[in-house]
Symmetry: C2
């Protein structure tokens, strides 16, 4: 039944107007042509951790838990964590792969050059949210489909942001460091520890994650501001008490805490440069789980050193993995981690299921859920335009 359905669907896809063989613009199939596909997955390696948790699906070893399912349908599934440089494992498969799956936590960077080389490539799937590791314009020009598992880890990231706000506001890190180094100096912590209550928190971007964060901030009785392209509906504003700020640069100087919740696009790259940071309140706290490149790396270091930024926390870096000498590892008053907020076990279960669902639809020639598309039929999703 499933096989028959898949063939019928694939045939339908070939004949449908969406099938782009007749298009002058699209050079590739948007839906799978019948037959065996070569699917490449790039995930972080887990080594000894791979077997510790049966739900730990997001690592190379467990490969989203879809190997048996793919192979039973005759597809080939290659997984690796080796993704950089001309001799890496990924490079060996670029020419003949049909689908590339990767995650924001250990992204395979899909450059225009790699797209040019990938003659069979049809589909780029992000297991998670955020497809800025792909040259989206090049992907669109080449007629590729790019899709994410939209919503799969928004709760995971929003929770993590609230944790980081509290870690900074309450000055947690120096206390933890004292404990492990055998010290006890309450004053060194408490002279700059505050309650979140009564402070002003502003989010730059109020998409799915930003909204979930604001809902979680509500009972803390802080002033919640948000800047976005689109004003939220009245019901949301009433529920959260959040206030819309049309002008980003008017919002930022009001904030005790700034949270970054925008995708990385050409407009947001380097958005927090020296000049914009200088306009923030002295002593501002910044949480950025969005993308590292939204910040000017050195401007953040300088402002942390001067005390203009009193605390910086996030799990995103430029590039990733962060090299050993990345200056954010060593700047004062940071509470950084590797990129993990969206790859909780709960998040992995959701994005593994969402990736499997899209592959299934791809094999069957069915459309994906509309909100998952980042590049479709040569067009970029609105947040990336």
């Amino acid at each position: 039944m499933a096989m028959k359905g898949a063939i019928v669907s694939a045939a339908k896809a070939l004949a449908s107007p969406r099938s782009s063989s007749a298009s002058t613009f699209f050079s590739r199939q948007l839906h799978a042509t019948p037959g065996s596909k070569k699917i490449v997955g790039v995930f972080y390696k887990a080594n000894e951790y791979a077997k510790l948790n049966p739900n730990f699906l997001g690592c190379e070893e467990n490969a989203l838990g879809i190997r048996d399912w793919l192979e039973s349908q005759g597809h080939k599934y290659v997984v690796t964590d080796d993704k950089e440089g001309p001799n890496c494992e990924l490079e060996k498969h670029i020419e003949d792969m049909h689908v590339l799956i990767t995650t924001p936590f250990h992204p395979a960077y899909v450059t225009a050059e790699r797209i040019k080389k990938a003659k069979n490539l049809q589909l780029l799937l992000t297991a998670g949210i955020g497809s800025d590791h792909i040259d989206l314009k090049a992907a669109a020009a080449a007629g590729l489909t790019v899709a994410e598992v939209t919503g799969s880890n928004t709760v995971s990231v929003a929770e993590d942001e609230l944790m980081r706000i509290l870690i900074l506001v309450r000055n947690f890190i120096p206390g933890y460091q004292q404990v492990v180094t055998g010290e006890w100096k309450v004053a060194a912590i408490s002279h700059r520890a505050y309650d979140l209550e009564g402070k002003t928190v502003g989010t730059v971007g109020a998409g799915r994650i930003g909204k979930l964060l604001m809902q979680r901030l509500r009972p803390f009785n802080c002033n919640i501001l948000y800047h976005d392209r689109i004003k939220a509906d009245a019901e949301f504003e009433k529920e959260t008490g959040a206030k819309f700020e049309e002008d980003l640069d008017k919002m930022l100087p009001k904030c005790d805490v700034v949270v970054v919740n925008t995708p990385l696009t050409e407009k947001t790259r380097g958005m927090f440069d020296k000049e914009r940071i200088s306009k923030l309140k002295k002593g501002v706290l910044i949480v950025n789980n969005a993308r590292g490149a939204i910040m000017d790396t050195q401007a953040v270091v300088d402002a942390c050193n001067s005390g203009h930024i009193a605390g910086y926390s996030g799990d995103v870096w430029n590039p990733q993995p962060a090299p050993q000498d990345h200056p954010w590892r060593y700047m004062p008053n940071h509470a950084m981690t590797p990129h993990t907020s969206g790859t909780t076990i709960d998040g992995q279960l959701r994005y593994a299921a969402g990736t499997k669902d899209m592959l299934d639809r791809y094999f069957k020639g069915k459309d994906f859920p509309a909100q998952n598309y980042i590049v479709k039929e040569g067009k970029l999703a609105s947040q990336y335009q």
Copy 2:
């Protein structure tokens, strides 16, 4: 005006039925007798941090910001952080002090022996919440008044608890450690990082702090359970979705996260011993900002070593300051800090104001806010009985 008022009030206090000079039970005045008082404050020392923040009132150097106010009324105000052993600064003043102010963050331990020696002592004030550093039965028998600034830092502690829940659930600490040691191993974090959403959080004790915590947990969509002597009203349960558990030992095995929110009393001392911990879920996370002695210290260490407790976070220790060799500093999967959650700058402003208010009432022979009394007229507050 103020001086005249104080004298009139003090005279009234002398004449009032509450004045205990006629009592056979009370050996001391419950309200101030007229004249200069000797007030001793025991606070943590801030050294170079004292001048960094004008609102940093809770340290020895800034001494709640009440020195000028006390001295202008003719009172003597001695402050110190030196509180232990027979030759400490505090011991020099025990015999003739009228009032002792201290905090839970750097508590002056008021033993029966010290109470016996303190012939002039009338009033013991806790700048903050939690008076277990005082032998309350001895204080009651000696006719002393003991009072706290109830509510002064409940929000501070509840926020801190939610931060610690997230730090443990999301496995923050190993990520931070990787950053500062130059590593990047996502799997070592994510194989045991979870969302809070959907997990079961139970609070042992649902007084002011427990209730504020549950309100803040509400938007996280977790299952909220609480055990207390008293069931909360229906409105609170509806608002938070929290469910009352009459039997503590039936609640505990259901919890992914246990938060301790009871005062330290004879009943709660050592409440989490080896046996009770063994009945918790394997992999349970524990947050304890209440008091260290509610835990059996070694039982917690053993369960963290075995993995039965998968994470332990709190800011309370037994004793305080924690010695350099306290085993909680070195057990696996902890996220401990020195005792600071209630001494944020916002908390300090509130408990400094509340302490000043009680001193003012004491000088004027007025009652304190009812909820502040821990020992009054020989009786202990209900939570300490």
